[in-house]
């Protein structure tokens, strides 16, 4: 009878039919289970650090999404306007610059941003942790916002091939409104949402990777300065690295699995947070594509 009640629930049917919502639930539930497990078995200071690191990474990721949206929207619409203006010089220059930006790997752009941040910190120009996070988010956004700009241009180009735009122009609606409201806001929200979720995933990955690299490779400099705690630099922490190294024991001593989830919890929790979040974000983005038939 319990099974009937469980599977007969309409919310479960809805959830399995909407993969994005299903994976959002799985993400929250998975992190919830991890939180309870850590609350039970992880020592209090490490648990506090893990929570701060996760929230900081999440906050930075959200800021990246906002900055990318703003920059991408601005660039996409600007390119479109310049392309249809009489003088094509502006379009040529802007396209050329974006073309060059595209050829710089994201991690290099972010690394340059971090080097500049280190210099600013050394000179005492930036002090607050929040401003550091804003800077980091801004740097990552510069590395990834072109994807938003591309999506915006694709949507505008698509609608320009239809009668949609001409008909609205004939009705006296301003082109700016047609692009910003009718095309992008009213008819492209699911496309944008999909792209922004993907960017959120990339930003978490880049943030963790660069923090890890900086903490490992530039440790002499970074020890002088306190970067905000994130999943990346918590993973680069000696304790966490020891925990990850302990996974090697499983190859020679499979019985070690019984203690690994209690004794090496800090590193495993951080790694799980990163990997599980990336997987779920990818699945959520795919779910949106499927539900809204974006492909």
């Amino acid at each position: 009878m319990a099974i009937r009640t469980f599977t007969g629930n309409s919310w479960l049917d809805k959830l399995t039919s909407k993969k994005d919502l299903l994976w959002l639930t799985i993400w929250i539930a998975g992190l919830g289970v991890l939180w309870i497990w850590d609350a039970l078995f992880l020592n209090a200071p490490a648990f506090a650090r893990l929570q701060t690191a996760f929230l900081n990474s999440l906050l930075t990721g959200l800021m990246v999404v906002l900055f990318s949206l703003a920059l991408g929207w601005f660039l996409g619409v600007s390119l479109n306007t310049l392309e249809h203006s009489k003088s094509k010089i502006g379009f040529a220059v802007l396209s050329f610059v974006t073309d060059i930006l595209r050829s710089i790997p994201q991690i290099i752009a972010v690394l340059i941003g971090y080097v500049v941040l280190t210099i600013l910190l050394h000179n005492g120009i930036i002090r607050s942790s929040f401003v550091q996070m804003v800077w980091i988010a801004g740097t990552i956004a510069i590395a990834v916002f072109l994807e938003v700009a591309d999506t915006i241009r694709q949507r505008i180009d698509y609608f320009r091939t239809l009668d949609f735009v001409d008909a609205m122009l004939c009705c006296g609606i301003k082109e700016r409104r047609i692009i910003n409201v009718e095309i992008l806001w009213k008819n492209s929200r699911s496309h944008m949402l999909h792209k922004l979720i993907a960017i959120f995933g990339i930003s978490i990955f880049l943030q963790c990777s660069i923090d890890f690299i900086i903490s490992v490779g530039l440790s002499t400099d970074v020890s002088l300065i306190n970067f905000p705690m994130t999943l990346g630099n918590l993973l680069a922490n000696v304790d966490s690295k020891q925990d990850i190294l302990a996974l090697s024991n499983l190859f020679t001593e499979p019985g070690y699995v019984s203690v690994i989830f209690t004794r090496h919890l800090q590193g495993l929790s951080v790694a799980f947070c990163i990997v599980f979040s990336m997987l779920c974000i990818y699945m959520i983005a795919n779910g949106i594509v499927r539900r809204h038939k974006l492909a």
Binding site: R4, D221, S248, F276
Partner: protein, 387 residues
């Protein structure tokens, strides 16, 4: 100028013009990096001259700048020799303090190497590393291109077979179990449920592995495998950082989008094979996943595949950039000495920004070369299909 701009982002961009734009981009960036490297060199010379001036004071015999009495004596001597120049004398003392502090804390003073910037010796050393980086990158890109297509095709065919995920199948089984709760059916359903859950677990682990950052995988096997070998780097480049899964997903998206087009229905009406069952008479032989390019003859999927592949070629550019990001992360995070990107990190640490700039320019050239190669490839494909 208008001709130049109009071809920038059009589908039918001429190859020659695209190459010109790439060339202009390379020249511009080369100029920017050259100016930067020259500026760093000038600043290094100035700083070295200034340090030499200060070093003269530090070399004074019987003078210990760590001793407050000696410092006071030195300051008073300066005031005697340069009377009335208080600001200048203060600056000299501050410069001495700065230099002493740097000699203790600056990593540049701790290395055995001489930090002379971008010398010919350094260029030769970097060239070897760069060639190795390009070789690894080329192999990984090729393998990802081949694997991603196969994964996407497999996923597409599974979708066409209306296969639900293992978890959904397990839920469905639980739902159906209501009617089969008694007798042997119940037992077999439990076994099937167990198998489905085990499959879901294995699939989950594989998926998580594909999304795991390279440094997590490398550290977790560090004590059992030599993580600094080229082979391990290639393997990590393929399976980690989500590169393979994202590339495969892109190709899968193109397949789905193509399969919805009208010509597919027309082809089916014209009696092309359209069954997606593995090894069925009108279906798809499983071995075609190995010879993917020509394996679907007389099947409607052949056209879907070719058209999707055609769109996938330019999309490879953005994946190439992401792949380079992944390789950089692997080399930097694993601290593999003697590798191109590890060297970049070291040079940033030693504040040898001119060498760092040269390495970044090398990476930029790699991406540009990939873009050029892809543009040429796309152009050839277009001509082949009469675009």
């Amino acid at each position: 100028m208008s001709a130049f701009s109009s071809i920038l982002h059009k589908e039918n961009t001429g190859l020659r013009t695209r190459l010109l734009i790439h060339g202009a981009g390379i020249i511009l960036m080369a100029a920017v990096f050259w100016v930067f490297i020259s500026a760093v060199e000038v600043s290094r010379i100035e700083s070295r001259e200034s340090d030499n001036e200060i070093q003269k004071y530090l070399d004074l015999s019987k003078m210990d700048f760590g001793d407050p009495a000696d410092r006071l004596l030195f300051r008073e001597s300066l005031d005697v020799f340069y009377a009335g120049q208080t600001q200048r004398n203060d600056s000299v003392v501050t410069a001495i303090d700065n230099l002493r502090q740097r000699q203790f804390s600056d990593p540049a003073y701790k290395t055995g190497d001489t930090l002379d910037g971008l010398t010919w010796n350094m260029v030769r050393r970097l060239t070897g590393m760069y060639l190795q980086f390009i070789a690894v990158y080329g192999i990984v890109l090729l393998l990802i291109y081949l694997l991603a297509q196969r994964i996407a095709v497999y996923r597409f065919i599974m979708m066409k077979q209306h296969r639900e995920s293992y978890l959904t199948q397990a839920l469905e089984l639980v739902r159906n179990a209501r009617a089969n709760r008694v007798g042997s059916m119940w037992g077999s359903a439990v076994r099937k449920l167990g198998l489905l859950l085990a499959k879901a677990l294995v699939k989950g682990i594989v998926l998580m592995l594909l999304f795991t950052p390279a440094y997590v995988i490398a550290y977790s096997v560090k004590t059992t495998i030599d993580t600094s070998s080229i082979l391990f780097m290639i393997l990590l480049g393929i399976v980690s950082n989500g590169v393979l899964i994202h590339t495969a997903n892109k190709f899968f998206t193109f397949l789905v989008s193509e399969s919805r087009k009208g010509y597919v229905q027309t082809a089916i009406v014209k009696n092309l094979h359209a069954s997606y069952e593995w090894d069925a008479p009108e279906g798809i032989p499983m071995r075609t996943l190995l010879q993917i390019k020509h394996g679907f003859r007389s099947h409607v999927f052949q056209s879907i595949f070719i058209n999707a592949r055609f769109q996938f070629i330019p999309a490879l550019k953005e994946h190439a950039s992401f792949l380079v990001t992944g390789l950089i992360i692997i080399e930097m995070a694993l601290n593999i000495q003697g590798h191109f990107c590890y060297e970049l990190l070291q040079q940033i640490l030693y504040r040898q920004y001119d060498i760092a700039a040269a390495i970044i320019f090398g990476i930029f050239l790699t991406i540009k070369a990939t873009e050029i190669a892809i543009d040429i490839w796309e152009h050839k494909e277009k001509r082949k299909y009469g675009y």
